[in-house]
């Protein structure tokens, strides 16, 4: 039996260098967040319980100030199965620029537009472990709506999204029970997963509601999505592919992300590594796609110093091959002592045409500094 507390507290400062599209928005925001974690395990580690609440308080944005339960799970592991009941986060996929296959959890969009922050998802998950791989079965009894910035927040659509009046295709609304399964396995240098999801789409469509003031109302439809993710690890090359096929009453489409990461280890006789990332992002709906990434190329350079401070940086650009719209980004972090970590993140939007889903972000170039204390 072992119990422990851990977690972090983060102070964040965001500065937007360009004038906001709306007078309600601000140029700089201070925000504090915390994510403590209580973990308890027994039965020689075969059973465990985890509780991970999350809270953020933002200076101006009422929607970004929010609370979530990231995890509240009981786990039991046996020789050929693992059962997890409760609220959790699950990640599927291999690519870096976007996560098409990853569908179990809703995106906590107010946290970051990169889609990597997720809301806790209630579930029953049974994993069946066999010689031919692991089969994961999911029952998802409750749907989480996506979070969107409020009127005073930046990196939001214009008009803003009214999250209080979401509409659903299903009469059961957020009570609709969703199902998913995934088979994952590896053979030699190849790791792969094949998945299917049926239920309420995590990606809403938007309905413009003009009165009393114009707002976007999210509409969540029912979808089937089949996904494939593959990675081949060949020496210093990582080759990656994610493909999805999604169908609803309104449309059916396919999308894919594919590319590689190549790493130069120990460059210039140092301990540092430099990785080159290139991925192509495709959506067969073309300009009609709800995503900005329908025919885009992502290029990135990752620098890992492998020093005692774990200093690392990732610089990237996603270039729209049709419109030449570009989104540049930088992420860098470094640890100080055993408990502190400083992170810098920047994003710049360039040449975004008014037909692009990123158009609302065109004046939201942002630089973000975080100081985190881990305990």
């Amino acid at each position: 039996m072992a119990s422990e507390w851990s977690g972090y507290v983060v102070a964040e400062y965001r500065y937007f260098s360009e004038e906001s599209l709306s007078a309600d928005q601000h140029d700089s925001y201070v925000s504090v967040s915390a994510q403590p974690e209580w973990f308890h395990q027994w039965d020689r580690g075969k059973q465990s319980f985890a509780f991970v609440p999350f809270i953020r308080e933002d200076q101006y944005d009422d929607e970004r100030s929010h609370v979530d339960i990231r995890e509240l799970t009981w786990l039991k592991a046996a020789e050929d199965w693992e059962l997890r009941i409760g609220i959790r986060k699950v990640f599927w996929g291999v690519t870096e620029s976007q996560h098409l296959v990853d569908i179990i959890n809703q995106t906590d969009l107010v946290e970051n537009i990169d889609g990597e922050d997720k809301l806790g998802q209630p579930m029953v998950n049974l994993a069946l472990i066999n010689d031919w791989g692991t089969l994961d079965l999911f029952v998802l009894p409750y749907f989480r709506e996506r979070t969107f910035p409020g009127v005073e927040g930046r990196l939001r659509t214009t008009p803003y999204v009214d999250t209080d009046n979401a509409q659903y295709e299903s009469d059961k609304k957020e009570q609709h029970v969703d199902y998913a399964l995934r088979w994952k396995h590896y053979i030699g240098d190849w790791d792969f997963g094949l998945s299917h999801f049926y239920g309420t789409s995590r990606d809403p469509r938007f309905v413009l509601n003009p009165v009393p003031e114009p707002v976007f109302v999210p509409y969540y439809e029912l979808i089937h999505q089949t996904g494939l993710d593959v990675q081949a690890t060949l020496g210093a090359w990582l080759w990656k592919l994610e493909v999805i096929r999604r169908s609803s009453d309104l449309e059916s489409y396919s999308a894919a992300t594919g590319g590689f990461e190549y790493t130069f280890y120990g460059v210039m006789e140092s301990a540092a590594d430099i990785g080159l990332v290139m991925e192509y992002l495709y959506d067969d709906r073309g300009q009609l796609a709800s995503t900005p990434f329908q025919d885009d190329l992502m290029l990135g350079v990752r620098l890992t110093l492998n020093d005692e401070s774990s200093t690392e940086a990732l610089v990237g650009v996603i270039d729209d091959r049709d419109s030449r719209a570009r989104m540049y980004s930088i992420e860098a972090s470094r640890r100080f002592g055993n408990h502190w970590k400083m992170s810098l993140e920047g994003r710049w939007f360039d040449n975004i045409p008014d037909t692009d889903p990123l158009y609302s972000y065109k004046n939201d170039d942002v630089i973000q500094l975080e100081i985190a204390y881990y305990f």
């Binding site: 972090y8 786990l75 020789e79 790791d191 690890t233 990582l238 280890y265 985190a372």
Partner: protein
């Protein structure tokens, strides 16, 4: 590996009756060391690493790990980071092999993501320390070619001094000189020579204790990098055997549960 053990053992026996080359004697010593270290089955450890830069500033890492002995192949191991706190819960799963590339996965707890990672990074630093991945990896006879140099004494103990030359890809070393204790068949000191043939690092292993009345394990390792002036102390705080681990404790599912 069995065949080589048999051949090696024959060479070892033969060595006493017939003239033996330095290479044959070096191999025979490695085979005997390997033989004496077989049968431990599984192992659970807790470790503390103290990293020192050339100014003497220290930072520490705490990790715990488990390993499963695999007959005829490299071992399987799972390492979990406890501190620094920002990487707490990060776990590293490794299926090691003698000559073909290892298979490695990393679990990133913040993203809940299991990532297959390249094993070409053998010469890279483990957690920012002076230990490279290849230094902490499972030691297999086939990984090197050997040459016996001389019998000697090291800090009052009788040793074989041998040279070994990595045969696996992506090693950062051209050769290693090993001072192997004649009683324990465990290294007391290893010098590592870089790709240019210059002395890069020296490892010394201290405070050996015997476990299960058979297996000698050091309680402290000191790695000094002569080229950068940095050093790392690796303290083995505990070794535990007979844990009853199976391959299931070393699969990608267990990686996600590792704490």
């Amino acid at each position: 590996m069995k065949q080589i053990i048999v051949v090696g053992a024959l060479l070892f026996i033969a060595g006493y009756s017939y003239g033996q080359t330095a290479e044959e004697k070096g191999l025979a010593i490695a085979v005997e060391a390997d033989k004496r270290d077989q049968g431990w089955t599984d192992q659970a450890t807790t470790l503390k690493m103290i990293l020192r830069n050339r100014h003497g500033d220290e930072s520490t890492r705490e990790i715990h790990g488990k390993a499963l002995e695999v007959q005829g192949d490299g071992d399987k191991s799972l390492i979990v980071f406890d501190t620094p706190r920002d990487v707490k819960g990060t776990a590293f799963l490794s299926y090691t092999h003698a000559l073909k590339p290892d298979e490695q996965w990393l679990y990133l707890p913040a993203l809940k993501r299991v990532k297959r990672i390249s094993s070409s990074n053998k010469s890279g630093p483990f957690m920012g320390s002076e230990f490279a991945y290849e230094d902490i990896s499972s030691q297999e006879v086939e990984k090197y070619k050997y040459k016996f140099i001389k019998d000697d004494k090291h800090e009052g103990r009788k040793v074989f001094v041998t040279e070994q030359y990595p045969q696996y890809k992506h090693s950062g070393y051209t050769r290693q000189i090993v001072w192997l204790d004649k009683e324990m068949y465990q290294p007391l000191k290893i010098e590592f020579y870089d790709r240019k043939g210059s002395l890069l690092k020296t490892l010394t292993q201290h405070e050996y204790k015997q476990y299960l009345n058979k297996y000698w394990r050091p309680s402290r390792m000191e790695m000094v990098n002569h080229q950068t002036g940095k050093s790392t102390t690796l303290l083995w705080l505990s070794y535990k055997y007979k844990n009853g681990f199976s391959v299931r404790d070393f699969d990608r599912n267990s990686l996600k549960r590792a704490r």
